[in-house]
């Protein structure tokens, strides 16, 4: 039988992933309202914005104002993304940002060059510096992402050995130095994962870093998002990034078509967990309402399914 976790944690990325990829800049108060609606659903962590170059990503230029506009709910972490030390400093200087000490590893030079203008190996060495920086700011080291963990649109298939090499680097340069990385995320922003490869890579990373909690950052680029989440649940994974209404995407995967397919959809995956008897602490119906708000703001049909058809709660209630 399956080794399902009892409780699963979803980290909402819709506000950051979703609006970052759009060409339109949506009104600040609408974006803040979406964050507030998401917080009401019981989500414990919401990635609000990224601190990146405003010239490259104009949609994120007002990240500081957005954090100021949120009505903070106790118990919810409002996080941000940064891609370099400069971004971290901006985030650290912004009131209301809950800093999570995260590292970024790359399985391919191709994606690392695009995102960081350096090879993956150089980026990995830089992560030592990131960890030092977090320590200086009293930000606990929390998680490490392995980007392009299943494949890369610039380099093709990523062999499993590349992932295990990175996991070994984490152990040798962090665990063995007395500062283990609590969470390791396999990230598939470009939609290469399939359920069996999800299982294989989780098992391989666990073997090398058994003390780390595994997380998944999955996109639904080729329609396998739900199957991949289910496969991870079967492996006992209890930590997922996701986006309300399936917002988000990847500029390299979707060829500029921002509605082609985004992250796995939070409310659909929360519903999957509920149907499987796995707790999430999230009110599916409230999340569906947040998803509908997201759709209203974006102004076009989004990819989530529950925002269209609802959960089964209504039918079960009527049936008594």
């Amino acid at each position: 039988m399956s080794d399902f976790p009892k409780h699963v944690e979803f980290h909402e990325e819709g506000p950051r992933e979703g609006f970052q990829i759009e060409k339109t800049i949506y009104p600040l108060e609408e974006r803040a309202a979406l964050v507030d609606a998401l917080a009401e659903s019981g989500l414990v962590q919401i990635q609000v914005a990224s601190f990146v170059n405003p010239k490259t990503v104009p949609a994120m230029a007002d990240a500081e104002q957005l954090f100021a506009a949120i009505h903070r709910k106790p118990g919810v972490r409002y996080t941000a993304l940064w891609l370099n030390e400069k971004g971290f400093h901006k985030a650290a200087a912004t009131p209301g940002v809950d800093l999570d000490g995260k590292l970024m590893f790359y399985a391919t030079d191709g994606l690392s060059m695009r995102n960081n203008n350096c090879t993956a190996d150089i980026m990995h060495e830089r992560q030592i510096g990131w960890a030092d920086l977090y320590a200086e700011h009293d930000v606990p080291l929390e998680s490490a992402y392995i980007m392009a963990a299943f494949g890369c649109n610039f380099e093709g298939p990523v062999p499993l050995s590349r992932i295990t090499d990175i996991a070994r680097f984490m152990v040798e340069r962090f665990s063995d130095e007395g500062r283990p990385i609590p969470r390791i995320y396999l990230a598939d922003t470009v939609g290469w994962a399939n359920p069996e490869e999800v299982k294989r890579r989780i098992a391989a990373v666990r073997e090398i870093a058994p003390e780390a909690r595994i997380g998944l950052h999955l996109h639904d680029t080729r329609g396998l998002g739900g199957a991949n989440v289910y496969a991870a649940l079967q492996m006992g994974v209890d930590l997922f990034d996701s986006s309300v209404a399936g917002l988000g995407g990847c500029p390299f995967a979707n060829h500029g078509d921002t509605s082609a397919a985004g992250n796995v959809c939070t409310e659909d995956m929360v519903y999957l967990c509920a149907e499987l008897g796995i707790e999430t602490g999230i009110d599916t119906e409230a999340l569906v309402e947040a998803g509908r708000l997201a759709e209203k703001i974006i102004g076009r049909r989004l990819n989530g399914k529950l925002i269209r058809n609802g959960s089964l709660e209504k039918y079960r209630r009527e049936a008594g």
Copy 2:
């Protein structure tokens, strides 16, 4: 480990499911061209149309002409749907229809009343007559569908015992009478299934009718279609109905919103199989082209993901 089948058969239902649910009547030659494109992909069975009351379903009124317009490809079965004996007689009188002897069982009175204007029990008794009728026409008894096999929008949850009762009816009234039903389908047109329930119900039916091949007819109403297919593959299921580009839907599940969510998407699920190393005999790229044709005909964005983002073949080829 998983008990994947070596080879999986997909039966395409897009032309029937997809156009049947639409209010628009699309040009006959375009629908015929879609059937022809699907046949080129390597699909072995395509459900072209239904023989139903043209007043209720005007989109299917020209089923006979549609069959005449198809350029038949050897090795492909061009099938039809009927909901009663009158429909079967029409199908049998239409040149080009490959008659498959199928029965229809209902897990709930609610859905049976809507579709057949009789209770499920009466409908089940009628199936004896259907089987006799097929025998008279030398049509081999081939499959039995259990409708609302996971739940029903009119009656709520469907207990597992209801499914096993129907399976027992099949054994007692068919197998024991010397005419076993070769294939039993669990049908979830209303989107109640989840992966664990898929496994549970497959196992339960197999226990009662071990000689039957199990098929699944799944819809992606709540975003679990792919996970449900994957769960069935893990159980060794090798027979699926599906629709190109995710066409189709259910008037009772989608509240008249024909684009809310249809059947599981053929090319996305063929891609899933390919990624898992399971043969289908289908050319994914040709099927993606057929999906894009379907989208062009329907004239709005369809739910399939590969029609947007393509498979990984291109990237793998470029990577050498």
